[in-house]
């Protein structure tokens, strides 16, 4: 059997997805046996021009991670879409925007100002902020254009499969690879490497009737390892997050943060999380309810940490 042509690219990413791929440990040898890696910036030295030279749909599978932040990301997204038979949005950033998506709460100007002018460790007396085109004696230097907003992959190109997670667990990565190699993939547009139910289905903590009388920060009180986080007053996005990660965060003693994205049928992970969790607040008095919800200092980032760009409203209105 001919080896599969496999590519992996990182757009606005942290590199964690690449590390996760390597975290399959010795199974990487099985992957190497089944596939030829034709493009993987972190690990190999192929250039963009190599990709441009490929015939269309030449690459069998591209694992695209990272969100679309600038014109370079977008260009590669479109390029790899053209050159790939199967384009997989790999990891939270490509799937739903991920942590870079939190930048959507600021304007482009605010971001550039903060990074290049305001941060304490920056020394920038000429107050230079990035410019796509800069004239220099030798000619003109261009750098990618910084977009107004972060977008997940599917708002730029058509995506075939989604592998959620920040990063996807090595076990699930191996499952996906096996599915690809054996040709056992579900219909296009599906989420793979994850459960169809939410985290609560896998979570081993004991669940009783939910009643929340107040919220606590995870750092302030020692949580009981056997009881549901929400019942103890700690935020946990588990109920509104797709399962499949073996509840690694819950087992480590913190509530789920939602990186696997919303379950099927939920349009807006943040809104649904809000609805579910506030519904069980134990109070009927408006003033008391207000006091309890005011215990959460940052609503949008707590309830929709990973999926803002993929939600109904993708960014803060400017």
């Amino acid at each position: 059997m001919a080896k599969l042509k496999l590519a992996s690219y990182w757009a606005a990413a942290c590199g964690g997805c690449d590390v996760a791929i390597l975290d399959v440990h010795e199974k990487i040898l099985d992957i190497a046996a089944a596939a030829d890696i034709v493009f993987w910036p972190i690990a190999t030295d192929f250039k963009y021009s190599d990709v441009e030279a490929m015939p269309d749909a030449d690459i069998d599978v591209t694992l695209f991670h990272g969100a679309i932040r600038n014109s370079e990301n977008e260009h590669l997204a479109r390029l790899l879409r053209a050159k790939s038979k199967i384009l997989v949005a790999f990891g939270s950033c490509a799937h739903i925007g991920g942590i870079p998506g939190l930048a959507n709460l600021f304007s482009r100007e605010d971001i550039l100002k903060r990074v290049y002018l305001e941060t304490p460790s920056t020394v920038n007396p000429e107050k230079i902020t990035p410019d796509p085109r800069t004239a220099v004696p030798e000619g003109e230097i261009t750098i990618p254009v910084f977009h107004d907003a972060v977008r997940p992959l599917n708002q730029v190109v058509e995506v075939d499969y989604y592998v959620p997670g920040c990063p996807p667990t090595p076990a699930q990565i191996w499952n996906v690879v096996q599915a690809i190699v054996s040709g056992q993939l579900p219909e296009k547009g599906s989420v793979v490497g994850a459960s169809e139910k939410t985290q609560c289905d896998e979570c081993t903590r004991k669940k009783q009737e939910k009643k929340i009388s107040g919220f606590k920060r995870i750092a302030t009180v020692q949580p009981d390892p056997d009881t549901c986080f929400l019942e103890q007053g700690f935020l946990c996005m588990g109920p509104v997050t797709r399962g499949g990660c073996d509840t690694r965060c819950q087992l480590s003693g913190v509530g789920c943060r939602g990186c696997y994205g919303p379950p099927p049928g939920v349009l807006d992970q943040g809104a649904k999380a809000l609805s579910a969790i506030t519904s069980v607040i134990e109070s009927k008095e408006e003033a008391d309810v207000q006091r309890i919800v005011d215990q959460i200092p940052d609503v949008l980032r707590s309830f929709n940490r990973f999926a803002i760009p993929a939600s109904l409203i993708t960014r803060k209105v400017l």
Binding site: E196, K197, T198, Q199, C200, D201, K207, Q208, E209, K210, K211, L230, G238, P239, V240, G243, P263, P264, G265, V266, L267, K272, A273, S275, A276, I277, S279, V280
Partner: protein, 585 residues
């Protein structure tokens, strides 16, 4: 129980062996005088006035009828010359102790005593012992007893001191034949005057009570204080009295409820300018109604608080109703009852009657005609909302009167009308607990009367299936309308009950077991307790019959596993897109 034959005053009769002769005679209707006898107490035989002549064989004896046991074949004479002679002597002896007691003097006159031979004593107690016996045998308080002997013998409390055990039941005073015992008004022992007048512990609350049956007031009933008395139980021929009855709480499962919890009177004190509670001759409609009632405190006579018949009466309409400060609505019944009062007052007293009105609302059958009749009876109608009632006189004719100040809008003048009595036609408002009742039965009442399902088409139904409302609790109305609504509600219930099947809500919610992750967030959200958790399958389940389809659980479900039939997420998203059609174009 041996039956014997006796003859009394020539009449032959049968009786049970050893029955006291007095009882046999009383059954035959023969009168024998008594002083120390009471049907509920054991006979004492101490006053001797019931002496009769008994012949048995050849023996003749003079005995006291109250305790002489009849035997077979006796022949009793209750009014023979010898009996009369003996009774006369007995009375003279009694008068030697109690010479000025009326009941003794009346008896003495019957026996032809004009001047007792042994003089007239000044005592009033004939030592009959009724008070002692009633206090120990019936009441059970044991406060009174005989002390000392001979001529010094008297009835007294222990050591002659005020007894703490006396419960002031008044039984001793009640049975005393001479009036020697009086009840003193010790402030600590006087009961509060009750609104409907004094009554005995067992009483029918008032003439119009429904059911028209006696009730026992535990607070004052002697049995509950001492364990004694129970006289009422002894005299009740049908054995209907049971002192051991307790309040019971019963749970009844029903499929429909008709609420007819009525109304509350508007508190006329909330319109302070009319002087209710300040002037004793200003009263509410219901208070006047009570005074006018033949079974009321004045026997139906219309009198002021000073007890005199008024020469002029003012009736103020719309007290608390059609009022920005109190109730904006019209209470519907007051104009007609105010007119009724006007007619009654005219008829009973001939007084000048003034009705102060805004509009005359005579909407029913014969109502307008009744109003016209009053015009002919020369009731004065002044169109104007009365401004105030005062007792401050401007001149001599107003002294001692209540003056109603009003703008007479038909002649455009402010007037002062002096009257002896003012009746405030106060309106109707919801009962104090209307809101609690509404919450208990899950119906709405706003801040007013219970809300009907539809003001025209469904006046006795509510938004909640199976709960019906009738009468004043739905809104102010008079008796014909209340009766009509009551019939409507009853027939609505009948049609529910007789159908044999019930329509269940179709827009209920259901859990998709494939999607439910068992987070249990929905479990506490259902106010109808329709959601349970299946411990085996580790999913939540909705009871389709209990579910009424509010959709609260569906909105909360973080797995989008609950489908709110007919109001699904997809349907609502489509509606939202639909109403924004002109934006998305």
């Amino acid at each position: 129980m041996k039956t014997i034959r006796v003859k009394i005053d020539g009449i032959e009769t049968e009786a049970e062996d050893r029955t006291p002769v007095l009882s046999i005679a009383q059954k035959l209707g023969i009168k024998i005088p008594t002083l120390c006898h009471h049907p509920l107490l054991e006979p004492y035989g101490v006053c001797r006035i019931c002496t009769v002549e008994v012949r048995s064989g050849r023996r003749v004896r003079m005995v006291t009828a109250c305790n002489y046991p009849a035997t077979d074949g006796i022949d009793v004479l209750t009014n023979s010359p010898r009996v009369r002679r003996d009774r006369k002597l007995i009375l003279e002896w009694i008068m030697a102790r109690c010479g000025h007691v009326k009941v003794i003097e009346d008896l003495a006159a019957e026996y032809g005593i004009t001047e007792p031979r042994f003089g007239r004593g000044d005592d009033d107690c004939i030592l009959c012992g009724l008070c002692v016996r009633v206090c120990s045998d019936i009441v059970g308080a044991n406060v009174l007893g005989f002390v000392d002997r001979g001529s010094k013998r008297e009835v007294s409390t222990a050591y002659g001191e005020t007894s703490e055990k006396c419960i002031a039941c008044g039984a001793c005073a009640y049975v005393c034949p001479t009036g020697a015992i009086q009840i003193e008004n010790d402030a600590a022992l006087v009961r509060q005057a009750l609104p409907l007048g004094p009554f005995t512990p067992i009483h029918i609350p008032f003439m119009q009570a429904v059911p028209h049956q006696p009730v026992i007031d535990r607070e004052s009933c002697i049995y509950f204080k001492t364990g004694g008395c129970k006289v009422c139980e002894k005299v009740c021929e049908v054995h209907a009295i049971d002192h051991s009855q307790q309040d019971t709480y019963e749970e009844v499962e029903v499929g429909a409820v008709v609420l007819s919890t009525g109304f509350r009177q508007f508190d006329a004190a909330k319109v302070p300018e009319y002087g209710y509670g300040v002037y004793s001759n200003v009263m509410t409609g219901l208070e006047f109604e009570r005074m006018n009632s033949a079974s009321g405190p004045t026997g139906g006579q219309i009198v002021t608080s000073e007890g005199i018949t008024p020469k002029s009466v003012g009736i103020i309409h719309c007290v608390g109703s059609r009022d920005e400060r109190n109730h904006k609505y019209c209470s519907r019944v007051c104009c007609m009852y105010a007119l009724k009062f006007a007619h009654l007052i005219k008829e009973k007293t001939g007084a000048d009657v003034y009705n102060f009105y805004i509009d005359m609302r005579c909407f029913g059958k014969g109502y307008e005609e009744f109003y016209h009749r009053l015009l002919e009876e020369e009731v004065r109608f002044i169109r104007g909302r009365a401004a105030s009632v005062t007792d401050f006189p401007f001149n001599e004719t107003e002294v001692g009167k209540l003056i109603v100040r009003v703008e007479d809008t038909l002649i455009g003048q402010v007037r002062r009308i002096p009257v002896d009595m003012v009746i405030l036609a106060n309106g109707l408002e919801p009962t104090e607990d209307a809101r609690d009742i509404a919450r208990t039965f899950n119906i709405s009442c706003g801040d007013s009367f219970f809300t009907e399902r539809h003001p025209k088409l469904a006046p006795v139904s509510t938004a909640t299936d199976g709960i019906f409302i009738a009468g004043a609790c739905q809104g102010p109305k008079d008796i014909p309308d209340t009766v009509a609504q009551a019939g409507a509600a009853a027939s609505a219930v009948q049609s529910l009950v007789s159908r044999g099947e019930i329509e269940v809500e179709s827009a209920t919610s259901i859990v998709d077991a494939e999607k439910c992750a068992g987070c249990r967030i929905c479990n506490t959200l259902c106010s109808l307790s329709a959601i349970t958790f299946d411990e085996e399958q580790k999913i939540s389940v909705i009871n389709d019959v209990l579910c009424k389809g509010c959709g609260t659980c569906a909105a909360a479900c973080p797995s989008a596993a609950i489908i709110a039939r007919h109001f699904t997420d997809e349907q609502l998203f489509s509606e939202i897109e639909g109403v924004l059609y002109d934006v998305r174009a």
